[in-house]
């Protein structure tokens, strides 16, 4: 799976959390994990494995909660549901 950002109106970062003003005229507050995944992405396609690697660098390996790639893909799906990220191969 790979992902890329869609155009947004604005974004605001505060203490590691991100608020995104989407083209659908909605402001979404992202969780810490989704905020980090969002910050890794840009307008070009990025593989979920590469996003997961960046998240492991920042947060460390998830341990008992699950594997990093699964958690990353869940975060990317959340971003896609908010209409601020496009997925391919999901």
């Amino acid at each position: 799976m790979r992902a890329r950002r869609l155009a947004v109106v604005d974004e605001y970062v505060e203490e590691g959390r991100v608020a995104v003003y989407s083209e659908a005229d909605v402001v979404v507050l992202l969780s810490e994990l989704a905020s980090m995944a969002w910050s890794v992405l840009d307008e070009t396609w990025t593989d979920a494995e590469d996003v997961a690697a960046e998240l492991v660098d920042v947060f460390g390996a998830p341990g008992a909660e699950g594997d990093a790639l699964t958690m990353t893909e869940a975060a990317l799906h959340t971003l896609a549901e908010h209409g601020i990220v496009e997925l391919e191969g999901a």
């Binding site: 109106v9 604005d10 974004e11 605001y12 505060e14 203490e15 959390r17 608020a19 003003y21 005229d25 909605v26 402001v27 979404v28 507050l29």
Partner: protein, 266 residues
């Protein structure tokens, strides 16, 4: 009249035109434009038709902005038309909250209390506007410098329990405090949270700015036309020490809250 500093001419036409003109002048007296027209200033014009002859109405309504056969109904519908015209004119320029704005008469410090319909903004204005200067119960305009642009429109009030339409009542008729020479500066942003069974005093909590942004955007007009709207709203919130969320049941509970927020040093 002037609404959010936008000069608007309201032309009252039809057989009820004179009656309508008197009603508009009486209800909108705090928005009356006493200033001479500036040479290069453009006025927006609204044509409103009040005609009790339904047949005549049908043949003359074309080209008007608003028409009807009943004075109370036309007055009720005129208020949002004027607001929409003024807000559209100031889009991208002012930050315009759906809010009640009240100011300390001495310092000019102003609290903007924003929230969706049903949170009691008009009731707040009516209840607290006798202690504080009434700036608006509908749209609080704030300049980039943090100064308030008053819009002291009439208050829409049900005068009798069986009334179907709200009456437009001049703030002066309700004994609200008039606007002085100003200036009025934004010193508090309050998100209204009305809980009908809330007991005791109103509670006030400062929200992290990022958590306040979704509701700020929802309760602000034409946010998308602003340059970097989230940053502009966040900066405004930070300039007044953050957005406060007030939980309350009755308007009177907010009297000490607003007093504390606006009586500080200017």
């Amino acid at each position: 009249m002037r609404a959010l500093e936008v000069a608007i001419d309201v032309a009252c036409t039809g057989s009820g035109g004179p009656e309508l003109a008197r009603a508009v002048a009486a209800a909108w007296d705090w928005c009356a434009d006493d200033e001479a027209q500036q040479p290069h200033e453009s006025h927006r014009r609204l044509t409103v038709l009040l005609e009790d002859d339904a047949h005549l109405l049908a043949t003359t309504a074309a080209g008007t902005d608003l028409f009807g056969t009943d004075l109370t109904m036309v007055m009720d519908r005129l208020s949002p038309v004027i607001t929409r015209l003024a807000v559209t004119e100031r889009a991208g320029d002012l930050t315009m909250f759906h809010a009640c704005a009240l100011a300390d008469p001495v310092t000019g410090n102003t609290a903007v209390l924003f929230g969706p319909s049903g949170t009691g903004k008009t009731t707040l204005a009516r209840t607290l506007g006798t202690d504080f200067v009434y700036l608006t119960d509908e749209t609080a305009g704030v300049t980039r410098e943090g100064l308030m642009v008053p819009y002291p429109k009439p208050l829409s009030i049900l005068l009798a329990p069986r009334d179907r339409l709200k009456h437009q009542v001049s703030p002066g008729e309700l004994g609200l405090q008039p606007i002085g020479s100003g200036p009025y500066r934004l010193t508090a942003l309050v998100q209204l949270r009305r809980i009908p069974d809330h007991r005791g005093e109103a509670t006030l909590e400062v929200l992290p700015t990022i958590d306040a942004l979704p509701e700020m955007v929802t309760q602000t007009s034409y946010t998308r036309l602003m340059e970097r709207p989230l940053h502009r709203l966040a900066a405004l919130a930070e300039s007044v020490g953050g957005v406060r969320r007030a939980t309350y049941a009755e308007a009177a509970q907010l009297l000490p809250v607003v007093r504390d927020l606006v009586t500080g040093p200017s």
